[in-house]
Amino acid sequence: MPTKKHKSSDAPATVETEEVAPAGNGKEETGKLKANEPLIHLIVFKLGKEFYGIKIEQVKEVTVTPNITRMPRTPDFVKGVANIRGDIIAIMNLEERFGISPENMDVPGSLTYTLVIEAKEYSIGVVVREVPQSLNLAVSKMDKTPSFLQDIAIQENYIEGIAKVDSRLIIVLDMYKILSSDEIKQLPN
């Protein structure tokens, strides 16, 4: 059954509490926080071998992926539509969208999860393989996108920045920019 925003108990130890910016309660993974420094709350998931993050404000809920109805003649990364609490939303596979080769091919019967993203104009679901984690980190831990990335790939400016947490790099996506309506119009006709 879908659960509204996985509580930390469902997820591995790195998962933090749900409240946005619970400033100063020493549980932060990045324990060396300076007092009063603004925090970013991310939902972190894996695509291919890398970790990606989406700001929690852009995530409406996390649920076990429901039944998806395929929608013929839409781009491959559109997996179809699903009924999530009465809303019919498009389900995307970001690995296919970004051309990332998946780390391990589908294990049959294994659960996947869907992040429901509510952006300015649309809602989409993003399928991920592992339980997404929730993470607080200080703004200073996030670098803006490296400039060469910004320069070459104008279309790729959906990368908002790179966060460094311990030894991990987390690519923070700006979901508002991730899907231009031109792309979805890649219709056969």
Binding site: N67, T69, R70, M71, P72, R73, T74, V78, V81, A82, N83, G86, D87, I88, I89, A90, E121, Y122, S123, I124, L179, S181, I184, K185, L187, P188, N189
Partner: protein, 553 residues
């Protein structure tokens, strides 16, 4: 169900009472500020409307009293009558009388209005400044006036839209609950769900009903427009309209308003000939234009007919060939109705060669898009020299659509019934491969048929629309759809029932995918894709052209 007449009457009374309340307020204002022209103008406008409305619906007493008051106020406005105490009293009494007449509209025992008061009104109107004639004292009218609020509320269409969306959601959940209760087989749950079923249906139809307006509200605007266009074109046009009382969803009427105006304008400028030319052709000098609305099962038909010069099919065919929309050999064999359908292609009339009816086609694609957008249909019939008829087939309501459910490659689909002609099952031997597509003789008509699985699910490079070996099984279920005067048979894997569905529009970003008109949820909770017949037809045609092109290379 109340009759239309009763409803009109209620609307009239409610409006009249509003005018009455406003008049009372305005006269009191005027008494304090007799020089205020704005207040006077407002009073004048209300009395005038009240007079006209009352006359139209046949309440002559009300229109008579309104007329007298209106005259009195026009004298005041022209400074021919001073707004003196005496006059004010009479006017207040006159307005009170109006109120009383409105309140007693249904009261048969009410009798005649007080003749003394009527006489007083006449006196102030007729005798201007002659103060020698005494105004007779009138028995005070309403010492015990009841305060009452209007029976009518105005509501923004936006709020009705919202209600309709909510009820759509409710219907979907209702279907789910009904289906679950059937599975669980619990008698208590069953009885609750059947009650829920009934009240949801009631609610749905009540809201749909609240959104209905009569087509007359649009038709009433046409006589004037027709007169103006005919004048500008120096043509003489008699217009006949029927079906004012036909009911249709307000938003649907809104969407087709421009289209209908466009068609009417076209009919006068390009259809109906000038009087001299008509005389030469032995036609009456006055062109005839008829605009007729009627109910057709669950739909509304609007027919616009002119007796003008009609459309020259020879020229249409030539234009189709010249614009290379079809090979010349195919154009010759094109049935008339299909040839006419090309008039709806974008930019068709821009062809310079077809000056005869250029302009006829300008914007016809826009008209068709508008009709498509609400799931309606449009067709042209025309005979050269005799005239042209446009027929618009429109749904009465946008909320609920009868649809045919079916399955292709384990996905559920629905096609709105408005676009389906018939359903047939034929054996695979009766399908023939001709020119890269499948063709079958269906009830004596050669119809192009397409396997939906091939069209939707096979990679475009590997698509073989004419390959019978792709079909499964011996007997094929075919849904014949019709779009723009053209028929197409769609082969589906499994055919299910006919069902009323609530179509949910696709939310962004999927709304850009035009093959689907929306989605609906089935009682099982499964998502069902609603196919957009115009888009499917267009996609089929474009694929066919691409494949034909590949063969030629």
């Amino acid at each position: 169900m109340k009759s239309r007449e009763q409803e009109y009457k209620e609307i009239f009374v409610a409006e009249a009472l509003e005018y009455f309340d406003a008049l009372n307020r305005l006269i009191s204002d005027l008494e304090k500020r007799p020089q205020d022209d704005q207040v006077l103008a407002e009073i004048f406008r209300m009395l005038h409307n009240l007079k006209a409305n009352a006359k139209a619906i046949g309440y002559l007493q009300i229109s008579d009293v309104s007329h007298k008051l209106e005259t009195a106020f026009s004298l005041i406005r022209n400074k021919e009558l001073s707004f003196s105490d005496e006059v004010v009293t009479v006017l207040f009494e006159g307005v009170d009388l109006l109120g009383e007449l409105i309140h007693n509209i249904d009261n048969e025992s009410y009798g005649e209005p007080d003749p003394v008061l009527l006489r007083n009104l006449d006196i102030i109107v007729d005798n201007l400044s002659d103060s020698t004639i005494e105004l007779a004292k009138v028995q005070r009218y309403n010492t015990s006036k009841n305060l009452s609020l209007s029976e009518l509320v105005y509501i923004q269409i936006k709020k009705l839209d919202h209600l309709l969306n909510l009820v759509g959601e409710l219907v979907i959940d209702r279907d789910r609950i009904v289906s679950i209760s059937r599975e669980l087989d619990n008698s208590e749950l069953k009885s609750v769900s059947s009650h829920l079923n009934r009240i949801t249906e009631d609610l749905q139809y009540s809201i749909m009903d609240a959104r209905l307006v009569s087509i007359g509200s649009l038709f009433n605007k046409f006589p004037r427009i027709v007169r103006d266009i005919a004048n500008a074109e120096k043509k003489e046009v008699d217009m006949v309209m029927e079906g004012y009382d036909i009911q249709i969803d307000r938003n649907i009427l809104q969407i087709i308003t421009d289209s209908l105006l466009h068609l009417v304008r076209n009919a006068i400028t390009h259809g109906i000939e000038k009087p001299e030319i008509r005389a030469k052709k032995n036609k009456p000098r006055n062109g005839n234009l008829s605009l007729i609305a009627r109910n057709d099962r669950e739909n509304v038909l609007i027919q616009l007919t002119d007796d003008g010069k009609g459309i020259d099919l020879v020229q249409v065919r030539r234009a189709i060939a010249e614009r290379q929309m079809l090979p010349e050999s195919a154009v010759a064999n094109l049935p008339d109705s299909e040839a006419l359908s090309y008039l709806f292609e974008p930019g068709f009339s821009l062809a310079k060669q077809v000056t005869e009816f250029s302009g006829r086609g300008v914007g016809l694609d826009v008209v068709k898009n508008a009709v498509d957008s609400i799931g309606g249909r449009i067709r042209i019939d025309s005979e050269k020299g005799k005239g042209t008829t446009f027929t618009l087939q429109l749904p009465t309501s946008i909320a609920v659509k009868g649809a045919l459910l079916f399955e292709v490659d384990e996905i559920f689909y629905a096609i709105p019934l408005l676009h389906t002609e018939q359903v047939v099952a034929i054996e695979i031997d009766e399908l023939h491969e001709i020119g890269g597509v499948l063709v079958a003789d269906i009830f004596g008509e050669t119809t192009t048929v397409v396997y939906l699985n091939e069209l939707l699910n096979v990679k475009e490079q590997e698509m073989r629309l004419g390959d019978k070996s792709r079909l499964k099984g011996l007997v094929q279920n075919i849904i014949i759809v019709s779009y723009n005067n053209r028929k197409l048979g769609i082969i589906v894997d499994k055919l299910y029932r006919q069902q009323d569905i609530v179509v949910k529009p696709l939310s962004k970003p999927l709304d850009a995918v035009d093959l689907y008109g929306g989605v609906t949820l089935l009682g099982s909770g499964k998502v069902c894709l609603v196919l957009d017949v115009p888009a499917i037809t267009r996609y089929f045609i474009s694929r066919r052209q691409v494949m034909a092109g590949e063969l030629n290379i």
